[in-house]
Symmetry: C2
Subunit: 106 residues, 2 copies
Amino acid sequence: MRRDIFQAIADPTRRTIIALIALQAMTPNALAEHFDTTRQAISKHLKILTECQLISQQQAGREIYYRLEVSKMKEIDSWLEQFRKIWEDRFNELDNILSTTKSDEK
Amino acid sequence: MRRDIFQAIADPTRRTIIALIALQAMTPNALAEHFDTTRQAISKHLKILTECQLISQQQAGREIYYRLEVSKMKEIDSWLEQFRKIWEDRFNELDNILSTTKSDEK
DNA sequence: TATATTTGAAACTGAATGGTTTCATAATTA
DNA sequence: TAATTATGAAACCATTCAGTTTCAAATATA
């Protein structure tokens, strides 16, 4: 049971759930209507998303509203940061990394 | 066999591979030295990364240099774009999404 | 209070995943 | 040419994963 954000967003259903509740908090039942799977399957996805803190819940009577933890989404953004440097700084000269690596001349 | 970028970066070994070749193109053997697994396991990861075009290869004699396809990495960035709007625009007023959703008044 | 509704948990299942060992191929090097 | 080196592919295995069906609990409604 790994269970980090990257594993969480690997599943397309979970990515859709994330996109849906990003717009507004939703209950499991309401979410399930957007999919072909059972409500229980959605419930399991919500559990996984909760475990890695990508979403949080708020009880309202017998309903539970799930909403996105935007701050956690930023962790993906942070991981991308290291590559953003590359695709910005080295964008033009990138194609010859291989040759410089191999010969190591300069 | 799904095989999209999100599934590709779900595995921690693959994320490390990506980080390594982001700095400089590398051969499977050179990469394998950074891990506790066999060279063949790394080879399989490289195959997956290649299939979703996150990396590309360039033959040099009997060696094969793998390098990161930075452009493909940007697709993750693009996906994050929709949430970036939220965490920038709605950052301060976000906490009451639930209540506005439920009553739908306003 | 009896019934509906909303939800999560448990047990099970088939498919996918990540790893290993073994083997084949192609390019160097002795 | 023979041996070594770099690599990918195939067969196999244990574990994880996403889904289902069934069940229990808690809240709301008649």
